[in-house]
Symmetry: C3
Subunit: 136 residues, 3 copies
């Protein structure tokens, strides 16, 4: 059994956002056992799994990603879409563009402290499209 569902995430400010609830609200009933694959159709945002409890973790993620991949590096040659554009592509590659999560007992088998993060790397992003594929 395979089910596919497209989700449009509301526009977010630049930074890291916990989106577990926004995704769950858009999904159909999950199967007893299986996997969900969540894929983001963009190259200037990313998706990962991390700490779900303390918002300061997401602030530190933004701080550190900006240090790892600085803007306005004079060596960049892809610069015509703004100073946040090339760093956004690189951050997307480091964070990843899809996640797969096991499903158990009709629920995501996340650990106690795990949630789904969107890394929004553009200053003025529109909504972001996800393709969710559930197989069981």
């Amino acid at each position: 059994m395979i089910v596919q569902k497209e989700i449009r995430l509301k526009p977010k400010t630049r930074g890291f956002h916990l989106i577990t609830s926004e995704i769950m609200a858009a999904l159909p009933k999950l199967p007893q056992m299986g996997i969900i694959h969540i894929f983001i159709q963009h190259t200037s945002a990313g998706i990962t799994i991390n700490e779900n409890a303390d918002p300061s973790v997401r602030v530190d993620f933004e701080t550190v990603f900006n240090k790892l991949i600085p803007e306005n590096d004079p060596d960049y040659i892809h610069i015509f879409e703004g100073s946040d554009d090339m760093p956004a592509h690189l951050k997307s590659a480091l964070l990843g563009t899809s996640i797969s999560i096991p499903i158990k007992n009709e629920r995501l088998a996340l650990g106690t402290w795990q949630g789904i993060y969107l890394g929004e790397f553009r200053e003025n992003a529109s909504e972001r499209r996800l393709v969710c594929t559930i197989y069981a």
Copy 2:
């Protein structure tokens, strides 16, 4: 066909560890063809695939991850769980929290030099829970 199996990895020291054998010993017989998805239910450890032969590679991984994501950065605001905690969350995101490996002829279709790594990013970690989902 989907089979799910939870594994508890014995506690490991901080650093990178080759865990292919520990995982294989806990899995049921693999199907003729398929995929295995291995998911770690933690946000301060990660899982990836890398070089399986020379232990010095794992030492260099620890060295470089500590340079990429230094401890005690004065800009961190999530600091109340110890100096290794926020770096652990970031390293987990860079390394990844799950891997998928093709199965062929009842074996993992890894390359000759590939093995499964656990990145343990906490100083005093307990056992780590994996959820393995095999589909065929």
Copy 3:
């Protein structure tokens, strides 16, 4: 339904390469709906999804990955296979060794600007083996 297909990518120069067409040309007809998992059987190259239009993005990826993971760091101890070898293992871990892409209407459900990248991290690489698993 599961189909598995091995692909040999022609040898590439060090750097980032758009390989969507080379992969598609080697795949069988895709199903109506499903997932494709593409796995690279090497530890000194990586695979990811990123911007498909402007070649300067791939040039900047090479520039930045060389800054993130420098060669000839005196702290490396795994040095006997050349100055590009240990950095290649680390870059492979950061970029990732597999991707999963949803399939919809017999096509990869990539975003408009998404393509598949090979990150080739060795100076004189041979062909690279991919294992593609399609399930529907």
